[in-house]
Point group: C2
Chain length 291, copies 2
C-alpha cells in the first residue's frame, strides 16, 4: 500500500501476511497489531511518549537476567499474567495464579512432613492438604513444587545470604493424595521496584506490595498442570495485590494452635514450645483432554 | 479486589491508581492495559504463547545495542512507529515518516552542493529542493540531517567497511530555503532479520524489504521538526514497505539526465561523463504553536 494512513494501517498490516504460515501465529499478530494501533490512536501517542516507552522497554531488557526477569514482572503488574491464568483456568479445578519470576529449577525433594523452616526466624506454619480430581478422588503421586519468601521478604534468588534452594521443595502426594510440611510463615513483600516496573508503578501511584503467599506448581499424569498460590485471609494487601493474583478460592485461614497440639509425623528437629499456625489447602486438578 | 476475574481485571487495574500522579501517565497506562487485556481475551492467549512472547521480548532486549535498537525495529514492523508519525503529522506540512534505527549523532556538516558519494559505486544522484512554510515562504537557515544506505544496502552503523559518518550529512538551507547535494542512489534493502523481528516477519509470511529512500530530519526555529523520507516512484517495494513508511507525497520521480546537463555549482571531484539521476524534493514545515 503506497498511501498508508492512520485509518487503514491495521488493514494494511494484515494485508502483508503470507498464506503459507501458521494461522494461529497470524491470528495472534493481527490481534496484537489491531489493539496496539487502537491504543496509540486512543491516547494520540506523541513521539516523545513513544520514545519514552521504547526506553522503558530497553531498560527492561538491560535489567533482565536469569535471576530477575523484568519482562515477567512487567506482565504481572500490567495484569497480563493473571489474565492469561484466568483465561486458562479449568472449570471446577482450583484457580490458577501467577507463576512470578522467582521459581528455581530442580528444587530439592522433600518428603511428606518435611521442614522448610530450619533455623530461620519467623512464625512456624504447618501446611497440609490433599490433591483431588474434580470428582473428589485423591490424586496419588502428584508432584507439588513449592516456593516462598524467607521471613525477610526475599526469595532465595534475590538474597545472597540464602542458599538458592532455601524455601524451595518438591513433594509427592501419598496414596490418599495428601501432602504436608512445616515452614516459616511467608510475609507480604514488595516486588522489585528499582527498575522500569517500579517506574511504572510510581507513574500510576501504585504500591509494589504483594500479600503473603506460598507458590505451588502441581503436576500429575493425566491432569492439567496447575500453577497457583495460597494466601492468608488476614493479609493487609489481599485486596490490592500489585500483580492481581488473589482469587476467592485461594484465600485460606491460618489458624493459631497451641504448642501441645502440634501433630505427630512431622520432621521438625526441635520440640514445638510456642503456638504455631496451621493452614489446610486442598487442590483440585482437572483431567487433561486426550487430543 | 479479592476476586479478580477476566471480566473485571481492567477495571481493577485502573482502580489501583493513585490520584497524586500525572493524569496523562495514568491515561496512557489505563489505555495500554485495556487494549493489552482485550488482545489476550480476543485470542484466548495460552500460557505457552505468553511464554513465547516473553522470550521474544527478552531476546529483543539481548540483541539491542547502541548500534542496533531491535525495539525500534519491532515498533517499525508492527506499524506502531508509522502510526505515531501519522498521528503527529501537521496538516498542510510534508508527511512525516519513520526515523528508523540507523540515525547517527553529530553528522558531519556538508555545504550546499556538497557530495556524499565520493568513491562509492552506484548511480550518481543529484538531490535538490527547498524548505518552505505552509504559506510557500522559504525557510532560510533550516538544518537538514540526511542519511541513507551505501550502495551495498547497509547503513554505516551496520557495515564495518564504512566510516560511521559515510552517507550522513547536516546541511543548512540558504536564503531561499534551498538545499542540494550529490550522492549514490540509495537501494532497496532488508531490515535486519536475524533476530526476533525476523522471527515475527517469518511467522507472518512477510518479507523484510524496504523500498529505497533517503532519510531527512528538518529543524528550523519556530517550526515543528519534521522526520521524513523520500522514495523513488519506480521501487518494487513501494507498495509493500515492511515498516509502512510510504506516503503519496513522499514518492518522487528520479529523472535520468544526460551527463552534459549536469548543473554548475556542485562540488563533485571528477567530471560527470555518464547519465545521472536527478530528484527534486521540496519540504513544507508547519509553524510550531506558541505554548
Amino acid at each position: 500500500m503506497r498511501n498508508v494512513n492512520k485509518d487503514n494501517i491495521t488493514e494494511v498490516f494484515t494485508g502483508y501476511f503470507g498464506e503459507d504460515t501458521d494461522p494461529r501465529a497470524r491470528e495472534i499478530l493481527a490481534s496484537l497489531a489491531k489493539h496496539l494501533h487502537a491504543f496509540a490512536k486512543e491516547v494520540n501517542l506523541t513521539h516523545e511518549e513513544w520514545r519514552q516507552g521504547l526506553e522503558l522497554a530497553q531498560w527492561t531488557g538491560k535489567i533482565t537476567t536469569d535471576e530477575r526477569n523484568e519482562f515477567v514482572l512487567l506482565s504481572d503488574v500490567l495484569g497480563l499474567s493473571s489474565l492469561v491464568d484466568m483465561l486458562n483456568s479449568r472449570p471446577d479445578a482450583t484457580s490458577s495464579s501467577v507463576l512470578g519470576p522467582f521459581h528455581v529449577s530442580n528444587p530439592p525433594v522433600l518428603e511428606i512432613g518435611g521442614d522448610l523452616k530450619g533455623d530461620y526466624d519467623g512464625e512456624l506454619l504447618l501446611v497440609e492438604g490433599a490433591v483431588r480430581d474434580t470428582n473428589g478422588r485423591p490424586v496419588a503421586g502428584a508432584t507439588i513444587d513449592i516456593w516462598q519468601t524467607a521471613p525477610n521478604g526475599l526469595y532465595s534468588s534475590q538474597d545472597p545470604n540464602q542458599d538458592i534452594h532455601s524455601f524451595h521443595a518438591l513433594m509427592t502426594t501419598d496414596a490418599e493424595g495428601r501432602y504436608a510440611f512445616t515452614t516459616a510463615r511467608p510475609v507480604s513483600y514488595t516486588v522489585p521496584d528499582d527498575g522500569p516496573v517500579g517506574k511504572i508503578l510510581q507513574a500510576a501511584g501504585r504500591h509494589p506490595w504483594r500479600p503473603s503467599h506460598l507458590h505451588y506448581i502441581i503436576k500429575a499424569k493425566g491432569f492439567h498442570t496447575l500453577v497457583t498460590e495460597v494466601f492468608p485471609d488476614d493479609d493487609p494487601y489481599l485486596d490490592q495485590d500489585t500483580v492481581f493474583g488473589v482469587r476467592n478460592d485461594l484465600v485460606m485461614t491460618y489458624t493459631e494452635r497451641r504448642a501441645e497440639d502440634f501433630p505427630k509425623g512431622f520432621k521438625l528437629s526441635g520440640k514445638v514450645t510456642e503456638p504455631f499456625l496451621s493452614v489446610k489447602f486442598d487442590l483440585v486438578l482437572a483431567v487433561a483432554q486426550i487430543s
